[in-house]
Symmetry: C2
Subunit: 136 residues, 2 copies
């Protein structure tokens, strides 16, 4: 594991467990992209990815990381949690840039009803965010 990767993981786990959304912004590359669970289309740019990650962190209850893998700047982090009563398991697939910031993040998870429940809670908040951005 490189120095950058080790530092990133320490900070990532600190941010998620303390829900430190301000610090989350600083470890995202400006050109970060995110592949979300419900859609194939990727979200692009720090503002929208930061906002969506914040919603995910705040919507999944009992969010905990389990197995974790790192090969150079490519990471796979297994997590578990709940949306309401629905248990879920997922993986964050992360590529870091040269400065140790998130360049690409794909979130894959199971089961299907957890993806639906997560999307149902998050969608209206994302729509409001995008609408505010479009009209500002």
């Amino acid at each position: 594991m490189t120095v950058n990767t080790k530092a990133f993981l320490d900070e990532w786990h600190r941010i998620v467990s303390s829900k430190d959304l301000e610090a989350l912004r600083d470890i995202l590359a400006p050109e970060v992209t995110l592949g979300p669970p419900p859609y194939w289309m990727r979200l692009e740019g720090r503002d929208i990815v930061h906002y969506l990650l914040g919603l995910i962190i705040n919507t999944i209850d009992g969010f905990t990381y389990h197995r974790q893998w790192a090969e150079e700047s490519e990471l796979a982090l297994e997590f578990k949690g709940r949306v309401g009563e629905i248990e879920l398991q997922g993986v964050d697939l992360i590529s870091l840039d040269d400065e140790g910031r998130v360049l690409n993040l794909d979130v894959v998870l199971r089961p299907a009803n957890a993806i639906d429940a997560l999307a149902e809670i998050i969608r209206p908040q994302m729509m409001r965010f995008l609408n505010d951005k479009a009209s500002s």
Copy 2:
């Protein structure tokens, strides 16, 4: 990477790329469990897990592995492919037993409509398999 893990990965990739379902059976532990994308409930035992994995391998078109991680006997394997026109990305989370066979396998994937499309194709075949097993 242990000797077992290296041997397992070589065989796993050979099996998936050649769709060698007979050999697939031999690298599953008798007590193997599988966490499928659509449901939280785990499938248990070599017969049903072998059958479901065969269906998955035969249903996803253009199945290719990408990033891959190994820590001792715990593996994460990223794959991509299509169900019909729907592109998908997923991860096989695999725990090996002491003999280098699959003990637990969780399949997480995105996007949601790929999970639905996969389940719709596979469900009737699984029902038929379970029905045959129950009545034999």
